[in-house]
């Protein structure tokens, strides 16, 4: 299982702050997880579409699409940050 966290606009669009997910066999990285979630359709397909500026973090560190994910990881998806 992994924990997937959603922040800001994505949290609102998906109606949840996080969820537990069983990693399908062979799912290796952030890009693959994003594609899996996109496959849910609706807001998921729209917000996670290719070309949408979505950022990710693995275990609370900024992560590019090719960063590997494993059981027990915390993966977060969110829009580009706007603090300060």
């Amino acid at each position: 299982m992994v924990t997937v966290v959603y922040c800001a606009r994505l949290r609102e669009a998906f109606g949840r702050t996080s969820e537990q997910l069983a990693l399908p066999e062979g799912l290796r990285d952030v890009t693959a997880l994003r594609a899996l979630l996109r496959g849910r359709g609706g807001a998921w397909a729209e917000e996670l579409a290719d070309g949408k500026p979505v950022r990710a973090a693995v275990n609370q560190e900024m992560a590019r699409g090719d960063v590997a994910i494993r059981d027990g990881d915390e993966i977060a998806f969110f829009p580009p940050v706007t603090g300060g």
Partner: protein
């Protein structure tokens, strides 16, 4: 604690005094205060909500402060960032850096702020006459951060 995320306001003088306390080697203190404006993208802003990703936020700002410490000759750095609901005129963020001479303090303070704007997981949602909207990231902030790399 060099990184604080809080809903309550902060007192700049008190924070600077605390950071300098007992260190006579400090010759320069640079600080930056970010404040809520009542206008963004041409629209009146009556209120702003700041969201963060708990856990990652302390880690990411801590890493930015560590980078500043390794690049410049500074003694201490403090970052306070408010979250929750804020209104125009409210203080949002404080960065304070102490060093022996001003050059290091100025540069490290600006670096921390530029990196915080593009790498620390905060998001602003603002209330305008047309309703509420998430603030879009600006490419000018990304360029500001890139000049340090």
């Amino acid at each position: 604690m060099p990184v604080r995320i809080q809903t309550e306001d902060f007192d700049v003088s008190r924070e600077i005094a605390r950071l300098r306390e007992g260190n006579p080697q400090i010759g320069a203190v640079a600080s930056f205060v970010g404040v809520v404006r009542d206008l963004n993208e041409g629209d009146r802003v009556s209120e702003m909500m700041l969201e963060h990703y708990p856990g990652m936020i302390e880690k990411s700002i801590g890493a930015i402060v560590d980078q500043a410490k390794s690049r410049w000759n500074i003694y201490e750095a403090l970052v306070i960032h408010r979250v929750g609901t804020l209104k125009p005129l409210d203080q949002i963020v404080l960065v304070v850096v102490t060093s022996a001479h001003r050059g290091d303090a100025f540069a490290a303070c600006e670096f921390i702020m530029d990196y915080l704007k593009t790498r620390a997981p905060f998001w602003k949602k603002e209330q305008t006459p047309a309703g509420s909207r998430w603030v879009e990231a600006r490419s000018s902030d990304e360029f500001a951060a890139q000049r340090w790399s």
